[in-house]
């Protein structure tokens, strides 16, 4: 086996994990871009989507349960914003972040309560769960599909943001919240839309993620959520292509670290990377520089 063949399975896993991080990271980066809020509950919304699917597929065929899962997740994301973030729009930024932490705490405890703390098995999606062999690696089809689907969704999203009126409003709000408000942009609507898109992508991400790793527990989303956030910061928070690139980079480097035998530090590495990035280039790879006005 030569070096590449040896590393190829790791790279493949890294790209796949990266794709899933990317789908979550977009949710973080969009919300941060507009509200300047680290939506700590985003990872939990992702997990709840997993449980929606578990419970619904038990009674309904997949054709029904998949769209229903997505709809319910979007609804959840929308509700969380309306109930927990909207009332705090004028409050200091720390308050709204604390509210996000509170929502995350609530969602985790709710999931714990409903499931009795037991791990649930995710339903098997046909075709996606089949095995496939490419080069030196054998894996599930979903591993290959994930990055492709991610890129497709991101391109679609970029089209939306760059070429529609809603997209323009979103960009305006993220550039200057107050001015956009004065210009008559319906801020609440824009924020809701970004939560809807973020939750939609989280639901899609959860479908792919749990097909790959079919065990759902109430805390399973916490780590991918945090890593996706790191990816968003890495790529320059507020920038969608940045989040995607960051997610793939983190996914791949995490798996390479395991390949080289430092798995103890694979999570720690992600955070170390985050801190280095924040210090060296606080705005990330693609972020824009801002100047505090005095």
């Amino acid at each position: 086996m030569n070096g590449f063949e040896r590393l190829f399975p790791y790279l493949l896993a890294g790209v796949s994990v990266g794709g899933q991080y990317a789908l979550i990271a977009i949710g973080y980066t969009m919300v941060y871009g507009i509200l300047r809020l680290i939506n700590f509950a985003h990872g939990d919304i992702f997990t709840v989507a997993g449980f929606f699917m578990v419970y619904m597929s038990a009674t309904m065929p997949l054709v029904v349960s998949i769209p229903l899962t997505i709809i319910l997740t979007v609804l959840l994301g929308f509700t969380v914003e309306r109930v927990a973030y909207k009332p705090l729009r004028e409050a200091p930024r720390m308050s709204i972040m604390i509210s996000a932490i509170g929502v995350s705490y609530l969602l985790q405890n709710l999931m714990w309560y409903v499931t009795g703390g037991l791990a649930k098995q995710y339903p098997v999606l046909p075709w996606l769960s089949n095995s496939v062999t490419i080069l030196s690696a054998t894996t599930k089809i979903v591993t290959i599909v994930t990055p492709l689907l991610t890129v497709a969704l991101v391109l679609l999203l970029l089209q939306l943001i760059n070429h529609t009126k809603t997209g323009m409003a979103m960009r305006a709000v993220s550039r200057d919240f107050e001015t956009a408000k004065l210009m008559g942009i319906k801020i609440d609507r824009v924020i809701s839309i970004s939560f809807i898109i973020g939750s939609f992508l989280a639901a899609a991400g959860s479908l792919l993620y749990f097909t790959n790793y079919p065990t759902v527990t109430p805390t399973v989303g916490a780590m991918p959520g945090l890593k996706a956030f790191v990816a968003a910061v890495f790529g320059g928070i507020g920038s969608i292509p940045g989040a995607v690139v960051g997610a793939f980079l983190i996914g791949i480097s995490e798996n390479l670290i395991k390949a080289f035998g430092y798995s103890t530090f694979s999570d720690a590495f992600t955070f170390a990377l985050l801190i280095v990035i924040l210090l060296v280039r606080p705005t990330g790879l693609f972020g824009e520089k801002t100047i505090d006005k005095v």
Partner: protein
């Protein structure tokens, strides 16, 4: 209005008395200290079921001609070292006379000082870490320990499977896995094999990199004592990778979750166990337990759900049953079932249990020297008995 309220109150206060149909001289409370939620909830619930089943059989004892009610009081410790002390404190607050549990040695060790301070004796059912009883005079244990288990599994891998290189994988920060890997490694290296060690952080979902590491290390076996939550993920990914390496693990893998994970694959999954329901040579006690417990499970859908939905008997249920019965034996040797007297009586207990003879050594560990090695059946949800081993 006030009168009605007062009347209601009086009625409510009388409810407990009404419930006492039979005449009891007193109540002896047996605390169940087990996880009902968290990574180890599945196993904890099965162990608890064994205890409840035992309680359904023996619900009272006669001491000095007086009838005492045996009551169980359960608390969820989530098998986490930080929740365990608070849970243990709850049991202490309920004035239990003896404690059974817990699944997961870490929680046992964390709670031991609290039970000890309150003078409450505790009997571990399936906690295999030697540290549970070592230095804890009031902790007893009815199963074998990790050093024995690690030894057995290393011997099995080296001699029976003929493997020279083993890849070990356990969760960072979990003492059960870390302990077992340690004993396995010592024994395996002593036999002349070599070990490649790896750990995964909590919350890991993607095990492909680790499995790939095992392949790249030219390992002949993956030794991965871990909670069933992670194990099922790991096995699922091994399945998609068509991994040919056999897995070997400790007693936690004797679970329906694992059986479900390997269905329809070619994976070979071996694990040690305390008990096997299909053992032809089992004692009459065991056979009675198997039939009785199955009937009891099937009679109540809630119990069946807690057992994972099937009536396959997990070894931890058998151990839970034995732990309860051991406590009963000790209680029978007392005058009034007080915690002090139970603690005094326990060292002398000799009880022929479902999982074998239970006699304690000076550490408080049952002298057990037989481990079952099973393989998970990939066609139907069942364990296939491979061998029993013991180490001299």
């Amino acid at each position: 209005m006030k009168k009605t309220l007062a009347l209601l109150l009086v009625l409510m206060l009388m409810v407990p008395f009404l419930a006492l149909g039979e005449e009891y001289a007193g109540t002896i409370t047996i605390g169940i200290f087990e996880p009902a939620s968290g990574d180890n909830a599945a196993g904890g619930k099965q162990e608890t079921l064994g205890m409840y089943y035992a309680n359904s059989l023996v619900g009272s004892v006669e001491l000095n001609g007086k009838n005492y009610k045996l009551e169980v009081s359960e608390v969820d410790n989530q098998t986490s070292a930080d929740k365990a002390p608070a849970a243990a404190q709850t049991l202490v607050g309920r004035n239990v006379n003896v404690v059974l549990g817990t699944y997961g040695s870490g929680a046992s060790m964390a709670a031991a000082p609290i039970f000890e301070a309150a003078g409450i004796p505790a009997i571990g059912a399936s906690c295999t870490n030697p540290g549970v009883t070592l230095g804890s005079p009031l902790y007893w244990r009815i199963c074998y320990t990790d050093d024995f288990q690690g030894d057995v599994l290393a011997n099995f891998a080296f001699n029976d499977l003929g493997v020279k290189v083993a890849y070990t994988l356990n969760m960072l920060g979990e003492d059960y896995g870390a302990g077992l890997v340690n004993y396995f490694t010592r024994a395996f290296e002593k036999l002349g094999g070599s070990v490649v060690a790896d750990t995964f952080p909590e919350g890991t979902s993607d095990f492909t990199a680790y499995l790939q590491n095992a392949v790249n290390a030219n390992a002949g076996v993956i030794f991965s004592p871990s909670s069933t939550t992670y194990a099922s993920l790991m096995l699922g990914q091994a399945k998609s990778m068509n991994l040919a390496l056999p897995f070997v693990a400790g007693d936690t893998w004797a679970s329906l979750v694992i059986l479900e994970a390997v269905q329809g694959s070619d994976l070979k999954v071996y694990f040690s166990d305390f008990f096997n329901e299909n053992d032809e040579n089992a004692s009459q006690v065991s056979k009675d337990f198997v039939t009785g417990f199955k009937a009891w499970l099937n009679a109540n859908p809630q119990n069946l759900t807690n057992n994972g939905g099937k009536d396959i008997i997990a070894a931890v249920s058998a151990l839970g049953y034995d732990a309860y019965m051991t406590a009963v034996e000790a209680i029978k040797a007392t005058e009034n079932g007080s915690k002090e007297q139970i603690a005094e009586a326990l060292p002398a207990v000799s009880y022929n249990g479902v999982t074998g003879m239970i006699v304690f050594d000076e550490n408080g560990d049952a002298k057990k020297d037989i481990a079952y090695i099973n393989i998970a059946d990939t066609k139907s949800l069942n364990y296939i008995f491979v061998t029993t081993t013991s180490i001299q």
